[in-house]
Symmetry: C2
Subunit: 377 residues, 2 copies
């Protein structure tokens, strides 16, 4: 039968793991042999014993774990020693960050691995259950609010006390994708007064359905763009100027700003300028989820708290690692569904090479980089 292997993540601060006892159980039931490197789950509060109880074998080293492995599951791209330990033709599935991690891609190609980049899974209905960007972004949005509440020297909810009323925090969410929506929902739960904005006017309805207020200059141009729906349409220079002025005066009044604008394969757009940061009150907190791609907030430094006259800019390069247990559980389920495309019901390797999901995610195969977006880069 097939052997599936899970190693301990090697990137500093990466606490997630690519399998849980729950997914291991499913695979062993399907007849696969599952090997897990010792300690792989500890960052996500999963012990070796829990994996063993689910039917996995614990291996000590990377080499031991990957020996004879047909399918290797990772959170992040494999390290050099992992690639060196792969057997010929092994399948590697991970969030490879393929646009940026060229060296890893080349090494995987040279090793003859068939590597799938989970971030390339297309956003079609059938693939929702494998959508790692959504599953992780959802938790990132929740976690961004917890980080903000933790760094903020006041309470989020309004509190009526004998000594006076504590005003609710004002939170502004910039970018209303999956992360932004969960940030809105969480900030609302905690009692903040929440506003949000996005370049896609169609998100106004989603924001309002969560009980938050959408921030936009709502002129005719906006309304037309809104009706057009879907993705962002280029607005006029005049509109952009009006919107920028509105945003600036709004940011100056906020206690919490959370930015979530990440564009795959591109530098993050600046959403908050240093002048806007300077306009905020001491004690205000900005959480920048785009830190790994340069940040949405001017002055943001990944994994540092930058203090600008008492305003904190917090750029988190891997916020989901702070919620590793849930992030691992959902990621592992995403992988479980994806692996289901590669194996037959009786546990044999049987990838449908014409499946559009597999085709979209396959980045290296037969000794070469095969993904069209990556070949000439």
């Amino acid at each position: 039968g097939l052997t599936l292997a899970v190693t301990k993540e090697q990137i500093a601060g990466e606490t997630r793991v690519a399998a849980t006892p729950d997914t291991v159980k499913k695979w062993t039931a399907a007849g696969l042999t599952v090997k897990v490197q010792t300690g792989a789950g500890l960052g996500a509060s999963i012990t070796d014993e829990a994996y063993t109880a689910a039917g996995a074998t614990i291996a000590k080293t990377v080499k031991d774990t990957l020996k004879d492995a047909d399918i290797v599951l990772k959170v992040r791209g494999p390290a050099k020693d992992e690639i060196a330990a792969l057997k010929a033709g092994a399948i590697v599935i991970a969030m490879l960050d393929a646009y940026r991690e060229k060296e890893t891609l080349n090494a995987l190609a040279s090793a003859g691995a068939s590597a799938y980049a989970m971030e390339f899974v297309p956003r079609i209905t059938r693939a929702q259950v494998m959508d790692v960007l959504s599953s992780q972004a959802n938790l990132a949005g929740y976690r961004a609010v917890i980080e903000a509440a933790n760094a903020y020297g006041k309470a989020f909810p309004m509190m009526m006390t004998a000594a006076g009323t504590v005003a609710p925090a004002k939170a502004f969410i910039m970018g209303v994708g999956v992360a932004g929506l969960q940030a809105i929902a969480t900030a609302r739960r905690l009692g903040a007064v929440v506003t949000a904005t996005d370049v896609r006017p169609a998100t106004k309805e989603q924001v309002e359905s969560l009980g938050a207020k959408f921030l936009a200059v709502e002129d005719d141009e906006f309304k037309n763009a809104q009706t057009a729906g879907g993705y962002a349409k280029e607005m006029s220079a005049e509109y952009k100027a009006k919107q920028a002025a509105l945003t600036s005066s709004h940011i100056a009044k906020q206690d919490i700003v959370i930015t979530t604008a990440l564009i795959p394969g591109r530098a993050a757009p600046i959403l908050v300028t240093k002048e806007q940061v300077a306009s905020m009150k001491p004690g205000s907190v900005l959480i920048d989820l785009a830190a790994p791609q340069g940040g949405n907030v001017e002055g943001c430094v990944a994994d540092q708290i930058v203090d600008v006259n008492g305003v904190k800019i917090i750029g988190l390069s891997n916020i989901t690692a702070s919620i590793a247990t849930d992030a691992s559980a959902l990621y592992a389920k995403n992988l479980q569904a994806f692996v289901g495309l590669l194996i037959s019901k009786d546990g044999a390797l049987a990838p449908d090479t014409e499946d559009e999901i597999l085709k979209a995610a396959l980045v290296t195969h037969g000794g070469a980089i095969v993904h069209p977006n990556l070949k000439d880069a």
Copy 2:
């Protein structure tokens, strides 16, 4: 006119401050001279400029700040250099932690200061606005949940995602005073399934009014005790054994436990034994608000995260310092009301020595320790 002074707190990690621009404004309007030591408000995100704008004078050193001061406001008991700089007969108002900080009390007495311990203000209706224990405990309860959410590797709310459902966190609040009630409310806001317990059966109703479940063996003995109301009544050994068994099996299933049982002037009671800690799942989090008095959780070490097989015990000796802006705002309002008992409308010193609030809080006067609870200790 009178001079009122506020120095920068000297105890490590004490970020709060005893006055805000808001309270300063009230005092200067009443004709008082207010002096604030430079940087006193920074931990609470209050700049020197904000105090100046409210009418205060910024002084550089402790000595400069306290020179000629009639009333000195502090969060915690004054340091030696502060006591040395007091003018004869100065009034000092602070949370003196009078049962434990004997050395400070003696020094205040020797210096001839009239010192008031804010934690001794009686819990009568008229004094609610001066009740520092309540104002700080309320924020401590909120903050305990934020700390728990921050340390916990999962989300608090239930989340329905394409990759599966994330179960809500189970949170158990032990001790239902002001802090416990706010912890219940906050954990509920964040979406946890919340239970709570207290030795006072009368708190059941309060817990349920916040949408949480009260954990108790609800036999006849409990029901009788509940009707009796008010403070804890000694329950039978048999009842206690049944309740202990119920609590143990409950704790083993919890993700989050927050303990809040602080008894003024006494060591904190153990609410969670080391066996109970060992019964919890890896990844669970205990927040112990009684850490400054030894802790409610066996194995708790103040200001450390103790890891017991993946279960985190977090003992916070000064949790309100993490929410310093609001904590300072409410504390400053408490002090403003208290100072109102000491001065007349035209800003002259006029304490009503027969006022039961002043009598209860006065600990040193005329060169001696005068509080009945402290004299023979």
